[in-house]
Symmetry: C2
Subunit: 590 residues, 2 copies
């Protein structure tokens, strides 16, 4: 049996593209078992789209066309397709009563019939599958070309203590009842989003399952970015501890593998510890053996992964929204410099970027020189637009009408907003896309001006802590021969006092800040936990206060390309209005 893994990428609801892919990649000579990703037929994540009539109607017309054409396209005795899609149960108004996330089979006696329904519906972080899908209640082992094949969909392989059932365990039970107690192959149709280290976790878990079920494990993942969610591909076939074949990551691919009945060896293993939380499955980045804990540095491989993920993320967003031109405000600081560098490295033919340098009253000449040098290294033009006069005109207008003296914070905010005004006038003129250049540390403590430096269509670096920004910048310089002027990396962070109600000059050094933030976001630590881990109480209180008071800014942020287990964005949901005594204070509670 020949196994094909189709690592594909289509826009959500791109039914035409999906159909064309099938017609141009399959024919009478396509023999063997073809495995497609989860929800190949629709795209993912669909969110509310899957509840809307335009989507449902067009999807059903696609299914009709495929049902009539696909069986004729292939040799039904020698080819079998396993395709991820959704299955509707509609009411009389053609609106869904229930929706299932299923595997369709074409060939070997089936026209386009659903054979399996996903059992574990992820519902944490960015996932809301229980909102839309009804779970399957039974595992499935099919027979294809004389082989017994267990089928899973994505999360089905990740049972933990959160789940009330474990599809892998079910397959182990069902396997015992097979002739000779033997399963020949397990396949998993996936739509598994990227974050740092996730791919290695998948490979490890696949090995474990291969040992548990005593058979190879074929994993088909989707690729491509949907707004903030990045799918990294990296499909594979694993047998025992061996990776037999592996697809490229961050790009479409088609891999093949000839099934051999000589598999193994398999060792008897205990089942993975499933008592942990979901986040525990995927290493968090805090080194807990030091006091206070520190962020583990990114390895070169991790930096490379991040770079590839961000490149894919920004380009898919641009292409899916038909953007050919980018606009970015460059300050000469590390964040905007790194964002611009990654953007330029990602540029495709016929795309260009416009860089605006907008010095204010206090901008040092040095920043201009560094920005200019960077643009020269990157071979992109830079437009220098001093905003001093516009700024003083705005200040004069204010002073004509109001007698209060503008605070330094108000002045800085005004200046940040003037820059976004110029930036967005350019994007309006050319329908270009403004890139947001904020980092995760800033977003976490609200250290940015709403409608000012926080603007943009999508945030490239919003899921990287300041520490990580430096690490990725250094990695790029190692790989691309000091593409970013080293002084941009070595200079002190540009820290104008930007936040709204507090003195941000006294926030801890970003290395401590980032470690505290990781504790809050990923370990969900309380003030007490953080102090017990060895952080300074004053630092902890300061950070927690800034964090809790900046929820309203995060609420209006653009999509943030997700590269960590816990990013701000769609998977982060905290109410703005809540007790001010929740994170800090109220120590004398009765």
């Amino acid at each position: 049996m020949h196994v094909f893994i189709h690592q594909t990428h289509h826009s959500i609801a791109d039914f035409k593209g999906i159909e064309e892919y099938l017609y141009s990649n399959l024919n009478k000579e396509s023999h063997g078992l073809h495995i497609f990703p989860e929800l190949f037929l629709t795209g993912y994540p669909l969110q509310d789209l899957c509840l809307q009539k335009p989507f449902i109607d067009k999807y059903h017309r696609l299914l009709e066309r495929l049902t009539s054409k696909l069986p004729k396209l292939i040799d039904q005795e020698k080819c079998c397709l396993l395709i991820g899609g959704i299955k509707y149960n509609l009411n009389e108004r053609s609106l869904p009563i229930s929706i299932q996330n299923v595997v369709y089979q074409v060939g070997l006696g089936k026209k386009l019939d659903d054979i399996y329904t996903k059992q574990l519906l992820p519902n944490y972080d960015i996932f809301d599958e229980k909102k839309y899908f009804k779970r399957g209640t039974d595992s499935f082992i099919g027979e294809f070309f004389g082989k017994k094949v267990g089928i899973l969909i994505c999360e089905d392989m990740w049972a933990s203590s959160f789940h009330e059932w474990d599809p892998v365990h079910d397959l182990m039970e069902k396997k015992k009842k097979l002739p000779k107690g033997k399963l020949d192959l397990t396949v998993n149709l996936s739509g598994s989003p990227f974050h740092i280290n996730k791919h290695q976790k998948r490979v490890n878990r696949a090995k474990e399952i291969s040992h548990l079920l005593n058979c190879p494990f074929a994993y088909s993942n989707r690729v491509g970015a949907e707004d903030e969610v990045i799918f990294d591909g990296g499909s594979f076939v694993i047998d025992g501890d061996k990776v037999l074949v592996e697809a490229k990551r961050f790009t479409t691919d088609l891999i093949q593998w000839e099934y051999s009945s000589e598999n193994g060896p398999y060792t008897e293993i205990k089942k993975q510890d499933t008592s942990q939380t979901w986040e525990g499955l995927f290493n968090s980045r805090l080194e807990l053996s030091t006091t206070p804990p520190t962020l583990e540095p990114l390895s070169d491989d991790q930096c490379m992964e991040i770079l590839q993920a961000l490149t894919l993320g920004i380009q898919d967003y641009a292409q899916k929204n038909q953007i050919k031109k980018f606009s970015i405000a460059l300050s000469g600081g590390i964040d905007s410099s790194l964002a611009l560098t990654i953007l330029v490295l990602s540029l495709k033919e016929k795309q260009d970027v416009e860089v605006l340098f907008m010095p204010g009253q206090k901008t040092p000449q040095k920043h201009y020189e560094l920005a200019k040098q960077l643009c020269s290294n990157l071979k992109v033009p830079m437009v220098n637009i001093p905003i001093k006069f516009l700024n003083s005109t705005a200040l004069n207008l204010y002073n004509q009408h109001f007698s209060d003296r503008l605070s330094e914070y108000s002045e800085n905010s005004l200046q940040a907003r003037l820059r976004s005004l110029v930036l967005y006038t350019r994007t309006n003129q050319f329908n270009s896309m403004a890139l947001n250049t904020s980092n995760k540390s800033e977003i976490a403590i609200g250290y940015s001006t709403i409608y000012g430096d926080s603007v943009g269509s999508i945030s490239l670096l919003g899921d990287l802590y300041k520490t990580e920004i430096y690490e990725v910048a250094k990695f790029i310089n190692k790989k691309f021969n000091d593409l970013i002027p080293p002084e941009i990396i070595s200079q002190e962070p540009i820290s104008v006092q930007k936040s709204s109600t507090v003195d941000t000059k006294s926030i801890p050094h970003y290395k401590i800040l980032d470690a505290i933030l990781e504790g809050i976001l990923n370990y969900r630590y309380s003030e007490e936990d953080l102090i017990n881990k060895g952080f300074n109480q004053e630092d902890v209180e300061k950070v927690l206060n800034l964090y809790q008071n900046s929820e309203y800014k995060r609420g209006q942020f653009c999509p943030i390309l997700k590269v960590s287990v816990k990013s701000f964005g769609f998977g982060y949901r905290i109410p703005i209005s809540k007790s001010k005594q929740l994170y800090t204070g109220d120590k004398n509670e009765p």
Copy 2:
């Protein structure tokens, strides 16, 4: 048996306030059955907060204190409390393995014991309860003061075809096994958000359940607004067709009722039709018998409901975020005029509002006069800040650096952003809250400038179509003696061409626009459906295109006070990146 319904309001995680309420409202003389709202002990909706250690730790300390104090506070033989809260099952790291939405009982032999777990977890629109909560699997009838009482939590009363089980039906079955087959009372602890007509639906459904179970139905709802979600209270006791007692709406209340064993009469009724979708349970506003359909006009009662809801929403947001001062940009048009009027009507002591009128090059003198008149009627000062010079300075700066001629659209956008710049400089200075004044029709078609007129901390009118804006304005003028200068209502809408990529001058009249939008949002109609209902094809295509291309603007919008079944905001989740052929076009699909 005396029944007390506590219609309460506390901030999310305001454990101190929650505790104080109990201690100051209960004592040895508090005899009878006291019913509190769903999740009284925590607040609602909690979203990810319920997963965080700071929340979990403080909540558990609250439970400990209540367990030791509450039983001593009351006469345990004569008083019984039914309190909504959550129950954690934690792992060794004190993080939740599962969370249940439960009723705690205090008194009559219980200290603070959970007796019932919510069975139906709403998971549509703004609700994500399956993300956080584990459902209960059994109905419950308890005995209190010799009475058999069935207990439900909120959604439990709303089973439809979407649900796999029906707690009301379960109670009917359990009732049959009781002595004489008699249930004495049903109670429902609720956290049911407001939208137009919802209260009447609740009353109707309660009557139905009272008839089904042959006993009175006591309903306790929370009140108060949490960001965009408004809880309207309106708790009641219903017996058969009679409303025995009813709490105020949109404010806290405590109602009482002496249980009488002379209840009824009850009529045998068929069970409510449950084949419809959830939205179908709550009337949508489209009059479908006309061709094309039109929005049903709002009644005076509905306008009053909306006014009360918005007043509560804006004030709770302000108070929970410690805001004493509001800022608003007034244009002389209907939207900002209505927003200002409602804001001023809602003002509490020690609050004030600053109104900025910022005329541009083309602003007619008439708008100044109307704005001035409105502020005079409302007795609030208005600051007149012409932005002409600032505007031309910005234009000059642009023309100095770029050779392209600014489009009318870019110019309008720039002007809108200069207004938000001045507005936000004021909010920065005084930590005031800027009110967003966009309406639902605008938001739906992207007819606003991002970072310009779309800014604000919270949107007061963002869930009202333009049609409804006029209706509410007229209602206010009827009730408050032409508070809004009638000419503001009678003048043509101020329609600068504001949208980004399309000619919005040719969008249909707002009455047609709003009906199409209601079809898209509430009925989830496709292009074909809309044309079949009698809308003009060109109008439909134009609106669908504008709608689908403005998702990115909605993504960065502030919270929108929700008054309809389907508002933009947290319960509206559509990906930005998706096939451009989904809503329109692709008519020649194979």
